[in-house]
């Protein structure tokens, strides 16, 4: 028993659920209407954002109200390259560039923010995000101001797509699923690694974490940057689906939506933000098409959620599974 491995391997009881979900994702274009498929694409892009956001909230104990800034960085990277350096406008270039720029922005912002926790951290992230919003809004000649910027259809290794619906329901969907799966596996590895455990130790008690030798601020910064990159990539992928980007994505209101969708799915579970992002996308759009008071529906949902399902949808599902298992065990006796 001398040498033990870290627990939390990807190969566990959940493996078959993950595999079934992947198979489902791959055949969904055959089952869903183009409209619903595009909604799912929005959801998957936001799921990456949710995974990144939850690395900070669930695993590091930091609530950010400014993730819109990194989302905007990813989306505007795509838009600006399309506008100013069109010769670089291909998917294989845009994604690494969005990673690079979201890395830079999240590193700088993170450097400032991780020195603080709780409300001070939340307010700092919110303020910096509003700074990005103001820049995008005011620098009209560069960013298009409140009109935003158009997102052209990117080429992929020389392949050119003429119609956005064809691009979105064909190659791009599978590319998005691929990036999502890579992001999912990467984040799963991160949270189960010694680094992920160190983040949880910091969240539990930062003084004690320091007393076992953990570099608290540095690890928080690493988590912040990884979270920012995930959000930036999510923003870049989202922009291809949306076809247009405006400064609103850097506004704290959008950052609030990220918080909302993670709570909706359940931040206590790794899979919660993914469920939350997809459900939120459908909920928001159907609520918007149902009534102009869609925010009312979103607000009511949040109240119901907090009161009846504080662990979110994923938490509710896990509880249900636990209850069923308990029932089975009891009936087995």
């Amino acid at each position: 028993m001398g040498q033990l491995r870290w627990r939390g391997s990807i190969l566990g009881p959940r493996f078959f659920v993950y595999l079934s979900t992947l198979v489902l994702l791959l055949i969904l274009p055959l089952l869903l209407s183009p409209f619903n498929l595009i909604l799912l694409e929005y959801g998957l892009a936001l799921a990456l954002v949710g995974l990144g956001f939850n690395l900070l909230l669930r695993y590091t104990g930091l609530l950010s109200f400014g993730h819109g800034a990194y989302f905007a960085t990813g989306a505007y990277t795509v838009a600006m390259v399309g506008r100013y350096i069109p010769e670089l406008y291909s998917l294989e270039m845009l994604l690494p560039l969005s990673v690079l720029f979201s890395f830079i922005v999240s590193f700088v912002f993170g450097f400032i923010c991780v020195r603080h926790t709780r409300i001070f951290f939340a307010i700092l992230t919110l303020s910096l995000s509003m700074l990005v919003f103001a820049l995008l809004f005011k620098l009209y000649h560069i960013t298009g101001g409140s009109d935003g910027l158009y997102i052209p259809i990117p080429s992929v290794f020389g392949m050119v797509f003429n119609r956005r619906p064809d691009f979105l329901s064909g190659f791009f969907y599978y590319f998005l699923v691929f990036v999502f799966v890579v992001g999912f596996l990467f984040m799963k590895a991160v949270v189960n690694s010694p680094f992920g455990k160190a983040l949880q130790a910091i969240r539990d008690n930062e003084i004690r974490a320091e007393l076992v030798g953990i570099r608290v601020k540095r690890y928080r910064l690493y988590a912040f940057v990884i979270s920012g990159i995930f959000t930036g990539v999510g923003g870049a992928l989202w922009s291809f689906v949306n076809g247009h980007v405006t400064p609103e994505v850097a506004h704290w209101f959008f950052s609030g939506e990220i918080v909302y969708m993670v709570l909706l799915g359940g931040f206590a579970n790794f899979e919660g933000p993914i469920i939350g992002a997809i459900v939120f996308t459908f909920l928001k759009l159907y609520a918007m098409s149902f009534t102009e008071y869609w925010m009312f529906i979103i607000g009511i949902t949040l109240i119901i959620l907090v009161l009846l399902l504080p662990t979110g949808i994923a938490g509710g599902i896990y509880r249900l599974i636990t209850e069923i298992r308990k029932g089975k065990t009891l009936s087995g006796i």
């Binding site: 028993m1 033990l4 010694p194 539990d204 004690r208």
Partner: protein
């Protein structure tokens, strides 16, 4: 050889002076006890040594290096480990992870950690490995907390009220464990309020009263001295 040297330490909390010109030393391989009533300043001395509190004046010298203003993490890396009074663990990490995290931070990058030395001292931990820190009893928590501190391979182990709240049977178990730790070459500085417990494991003892060190000697001397027993509340 002196491992830890405290010279004229003054520590204030706000405007209240907690420690007054505290001086003492701990030699390599010793088990030394800081005895005193609750509120006498024992925990403050321990927290000054690990760096959670900063003194207003005085010097803390460890292995010949002054560490008075050094951040806690650097002191840990120099070989000082601390098991606090409440022994709180990282609640969502398993016992195995709680112990390994210290070893990993120390630089064991190959994802392996030899638990044999830990199991030798606390065989009870073997069956707790997969349990989360949140679901341990007080005694189990103390064991894991000490094991986690040992995973840092310290040369000085600071224990704050490690025996507090333990059943007599468990106290005997802990006494044996501390002897084993000492035999491994780890120097122990123990903050305790119970002289009977302290006398079981300590080579020397200091009595701390109202933030001052008022006595230095063998634990047996204290046990035989009515006046000293009254001061530490054990009479």
């Amino acid at each position: 050889m002196t491992l830890l040297d405290i010279e004229n330490l003054d520590f204030f909390m706000g405007s209240t002076q907690i420690l007054r010109s505290v001086s003492f030393s701990v030699n390599e391989g010793e088990a030394v006890c800081l005895l005193g009533r609750n509120g006498s300043g024992r925990t403050s001395i321990i927290k000054n040594i690990i760096g959670l509190y900063l003194p207003r004046s005085g010097k803390i010298v460890f292995r010949g290096n002054e560490i008075t203003r050094m951040p806690p993490r650097n002191r840990v890396l120099m070989g000082i480990a601390y098991s606090p009074e409440d022994s709180r663990l990282f609640s969502e990490l398993t016992v195995e992870e709680n112990i390994k995290i210290a070893a990993w931070v120390r630089g064991e990058k190959n994802d392996t950690f030899n638990f044999e030395s830990v199991f030798e001292i606390f065989p009870e931990i073997k069956k707790l490995m997969k349990r989360k820190g949140l679901y341990l009893s007080g005694g189990e928590r103390k064991m894991v907390s000490i094991a986690r501190a040992l995973a840092l391979s310290p040369s000085l182990l600071l224990l704050d009220e490690s025996f507090e709240g333990l059943a007599p049977v468990v106290i005997n178990r802990f006494k044996e464990a501390l002897k084993q730790i000492k035999d491994m070459g780890v120097t122990i500085l123990l903050a305790e309020s119970n002289i009977k417990v302290a006398s079981l494991v300590s080579d020397r003892a200091y009595i701390v009263e109202r933030g001052e060190v008022i006595f230095e000697g063998q634990p047996q001397e204290i046990l035989q001295n009515e006046k000293l027993l009254r001061i530490i509340g054990g009479g």
